[in-house]
């Protein structure tokens, strides 16, 4: 009886989540197949037959693989330094180094442009630099993953293990310790970070669009033609291109996520851990790594703030003047339907709605997976992958799915202000699960068993044992959900947007794509971008305060 009840408890959140994620996807797929008259495997060749999608498959893989390699090359030394040595203000440093990951890509791309442009390193004139700059931009975006996965493994390690190793023949030399101890220890975490970096580089959109304008990826192809998809007897090729791109993307990413799930389960079953304060040593030369790392992470963001404070002085000589006019026009809403203050309120409103739904949903999903894992159920892994599915669906497919789904169900939903929150919930829930599930796996099962012995009921176990113990990961998950929602742009952009509901990222995009004949337009856009960034930074700093020592979750 109890088991049956538990089964329902597990099934219900998965049913809810599937309804949210899979139904729109299936509706979109069904529509694309119906309109194009072809099955997904029949349209792969169409990618090479069109100018805008030529070489997209090759370039998508190339840049994703190279980006992953560069991210690891930059990220591992940083994670090593952060994890192994004692640093003042380490929470602040972690927050700053993680900030790029939640920075909206369009803002980050603008920051990189400012650094690489004529006012910076002046590299944009040479096309051969485009791919390298994209790789660095992706590395910038993803090093947080390496830090968040690898740092806890090092910082929580019981120092006695290393001391014991030194007594053994293999531990005599630095190379020996690296080969026999550190590499096997860190390998699963590095692979986890690598897989996710690959996933995010594979689906990267704004960075590719701005950094390598002459190359297309599967994601940019879908964004280019996705708007015309799903309409009968109209631009049939766009349906074929979206179908082909999304199928390839989906297959590759589902494989990557399966790998990630397997690795993460392995990772949380590693060796005994201690509180990180036990294991830290004094660093000596580490600043040589950390100062450039902080500069690398912060300079694109500083560049955005700088651009918000400069207005072009048009004339024969290129010059700018320092002013707050960009901020003033952003606050008064001169160039947009709403002001940045209204947009911030909208963003925060959607973020809170996202939090209210995705946190309990993510908790229920994590609990369900954890329960199945404990039982050794065959279903644990597929359901674990299911929770990551939104990461494998492109923003365009997600948006298109919801759009087509809603048209079929009821158009009343179009007038509902909460509609744009759906993609936010879909995208933030996987992050909540990634944070809570490892923490649940780490929890000592004896605590719950003891509580049961003490005749505590389920509600008491939840509120008095499980939730207080997971308070740190829960708060971090909540803040990450808010940050993801605040930065989400791609999917909600595809959905119908009512001007009064504009969020900050949508406002930034509107201002960025507005013709900039008027010199105040760009600083206004940059002011909106800066506000978005600063809000996210504050959220992150708050999250860091609640993070438990050596938190081994995704962030």
């Amino acid at each position: 009886m109890k088991r049956k009840f538990e089964n329902i408890e597990v099934a219900l959140p998965f049913f809810l989540f599937s309804a949210l994620v899979i139904i729109p996807l299936l509706l979109a797929l069904d529509r694309l197949i119906y309109v194009s008259g072809k099955m997904p495997w029949q349209v792969f060749s169409s990618l090479d037959e069109h100018y805008l999608s030529q070489d997209a498959i090759g370039f998508t893989f190339l840049q994703a693989l190279l980006s992953t390699a560069l991210t690891l090359a930059i990220g591992i030394p940083i994670a090593w330094q952060l994890g192994r040595y004692h640093w003042p203000r380490i929470r602040l440093m972690r927050a700053l180094l993680t900030l790029p990951f939640v920075t909206p890509a369009i803002v980050a791309a603008m920051g990189f442009m400012a650094i690489l442009g004529s006012d910076g390193f002046d590299l944009r004139g040479e096309r051969s630099t485009y791919l390298v700059s994209l790789l660095f931009a992706h590395a910038w975006f993803n090093i947080a993953l390496v830090i968040r996965f690898v740092d806890p493994v090092i910082s929580n390690l019981d120092p006695r293990m290393e001391e014991q190793l030194r007594l053994l023949p293999a531990g005599n030399s630095r190379w020996g310790r690296l080969r026999c101890f550190w590499i096997p220890l860190m390998f699963p975490s590095i692979l986890c970070a690598a897989v996710l970096t690959f996933v995010f580089s594979f689906t990267s959109f704004a960075m590719v669009r701005w950094m390598t304008p002459s190359n297309a990826t599967l994601e940019t192809v879908m964004a280019d033609v996705g708007g015309a998809a799903g309409i009968e007897n109209y631009q049939i090729y766009s349906n074929e291109l979206v179908l082909a791109s999304s199928t390839i993307q989906f297959l590759v990413l589902i494989l990557a996520l399966w790998l990630l799930s397997a690795l993460q389960a392995k990772r949380s079953r590693t060796i005994a851990e201690v509180s990180e304060s036990h294991s830290r040593k004094k660093g000596r030369t580490g600043w040589l790594v950390l100062i450039p790392a902080l500069l690398f992470c912060l300079s694109p963001l500083m560049a955005v703030i700088r651009s918000s404070l400069r207005v072009a002085e048009r004339g024969p000589v290129i010059s700018h003047r320092w002013t707050l006019e960009g901020w003033q026009s952003a606050i008064s809403g001169d160039y947009a339907y709403i002001s940045i203050i209204d947009a911030l309120q909208n963003s925060l409103g959607y973020a809170i709605l996202t939090l209210v739904i995705s946190l309990p949903l993510g908790w229920s999903l994590s609990s369900g997976i954890h329960l199945l894992e404990k039982r050794g159920s065959y279903w644990a892994k597929p359901l674990d992958i299911l929770t990551m599915l939104p990461l494998a669906i492109s923003g365009v497919m997600l948006g298109l799915g919801i759009l087509l789904g809603i048209i079929r169900i009821s158009t009343v939903f179009f007038t509902m202000w909460w509609m744009p929150a759906i993609p936010h919930i879909m995208l933030s829930t996987p992050f909540v699960v990634r944070l809570l599930l490892p923490a649940m796996r780490r929890q000592d099962p004896e605590l719950i068993e003891n509580a049961q012995v003490l005749a505590m009921n389920r509600w008491q176990i939840l509120t008095k044992i499980r939730m207080p113990l997971l308070r740190g990961p829960l708060i971090v998950a909540g803040i990450i959900a808010i940050a993801m929602s605040m930065g989400e742009f791609g999917a909600s952009w595809i959905l119908v947007r009512t001007g009064a509901w504009d969020t900050l990222p949508v406002l930034v995009d509107q201002l960025m794509t507005r013709p900039g004949f008027d010199p105040l337009v760009k600083p206004t856009a940059m002011a909106a971008a800066s506000l978005l960034m600063l809000t996210t930074l504050i959220l992150f700093l708050v999250a860091e305060r609640f993070r438990p020592d050596g938190d081994g979750g995704m962030f």
Binding site: L52, R124, P213, D224, Y237, G499
Partner: protein, 374 residues
């Protein structure tokens, strides 16, 4: 696993939905309150548009103050996105009025029954704005010609870089990799320019080549194709305001934009610009943007009122400044301030292609363009 959390999840989800359903509007335009009772709603006009820059919040507020009709905006990327939206939501239209379909998309909207006749009282629109289309399905609200612009600093006769006298000049070595054009597949100005090339090469002296040959020659000459106007003009064009931007590349000396873009440049830069337009006969496209009433709307009357508002002198004469486009009102023109008018050249002969021809041939033109480019 705990049932309470599941319960809380469900309650939160349902509460968020039910809270909003009380604000739902039924098919009679009535709002349903908490008790399920119909109550009259405020008068709301929903407009689907791309960012028409002239429609600032003050302008919208002014309309609301004059008529008591509240305006809601659905903002999309460009004219193509508006047509896509109208087609996708044809069975259940979301908007009452569409602003921004141009004469490259209008006929498709008419043929596919997504727009209906307007009832607005219009008498002050100039004749040239009615040239592409003069029926009752659409009302022009702004216009301009799309053509190549070039950076005058790039012209250097001693290096073989003269002002082109034919589009074929741009496929020569001197301009290799120096021309940026938005893709006709993804951009409205790009599409308009492609249409112009079909007419240009159909009427040139050379009968052995056609328009697709020119595009193929441009591919061989490393033409830069971008997904939208912004990227072509801001990022690639060396003669525009992009040079002041951080993301500027500046590798293109020619770009597809409006023939009056140099005038807009000058207006915002105290009469300074190095950009000018290349107004070769039939190599430009006269674009007219329309206000169209969405088929099946219950608020056609509000849409008509807005169209009339859009054509008042107060709003429409400001198009050159607020929307960087020509007004459509009789006897209107560009302002002379800061060299706006002086730097805005009018093509003597635009491409002559009717909306019907465009609608009929667009799919095959785009397919031919793709074939020429691959």
């Amino acid at each position: 696993m705990n049932s309470k959390v599941v319960l809380v999840t469900l309650i939160a989800f349902l509460a968020s939905i039910s809270g909003c359903l009380t604000g739902a509007i039924d098919d009679k335009g009535m709002m349903i309150d908490e008790r399920g009772v119909e109550v009259p709603t405020e008068r709301v006009l929903t407009i689907v548009t791309y960012d028409i820059y002239g429609l600032t919040s003050e302008r919208i507020m002014e309309f609301t103050n004059q008529t008591g009709i509240k305006v809601e905006m659905i903002k999309l990327g460009d004219a193509g996105a508006i047509l896509n939206h109208l087609l996708q939501t044809k069975e259940a239209p979301q908007a009452d009025l569409a602003l921004g379909l141009d004469n490259t998309y209008l006929q498709q909207a008419i043929d596919r029954n997504v727009i209906q006749s307007h009832g607005a009282n219009i008498s002050n629109v100039m004749e040239s704005a009615w040239l592409p289309y003069n029926g009752t399905m659409a009302v022009p609200f702004d216009q301009g010609s799309i053509c190549l612009n070039y950076d005058t600093n790039s012209i250097n006769s001693s290096q073989g870089r003269d002002v082109p006298t034919s589009l074929w000049n741009l496929s020569e070595e001197a301009w290799k990799g120096k021309v940026a054009i938005p893709s006709p597949v993804t951009s409205s100005p790009g599409r308009a320019f492609m249409i112009a090339t079909t007419d240009y090469f159909a009427n040139d002296d050379d009968e052995t080549t056609n328009w697709t040959d020119w595009w193929s020659a441009m591919v061989d000459n490393d033409v830069i194709i971008t997904s939208g106007w912004t990227e072509a003009y801001e990022t690639h064009y060396s003669g525009g305001y992009g040079v002041w931007n951080d993301d500027h590349i500046g590798d293109a000396n020619f770009v597809v934009s409006y023939c009056h873009s140099p005038g807009v440049e000058a207006y915002w830069a105290d009469n300074y610009t190095i950009s000018t337009s290349l107004t070769l006969d039939r190599a430009s496209f006269h674009q007219v943007e329309y206000a169209t009433v969405v088929n099946g709307t219950a608020n056609a009357e509000y849409a008509d009122l807005f169209i009339e508002y859009l054509l008042t002198e107060d709003v429409n004469l400001n198009m050159p400044i607020e929307n960087s486009m020509y007004s459509v009102l009789i006897d209107s023109g560009l302002p002379a301030d800061n060299g706006y008018l002086y730097h805005s050249e009018l093509p003597s002969l635009n491409a002559q292609v009717s909306p019907e021809e465009i609608a009929e041939n667009m799919d095959s033109w785009l397919a031919a363009w793709e074939a020429a480019m691959v």
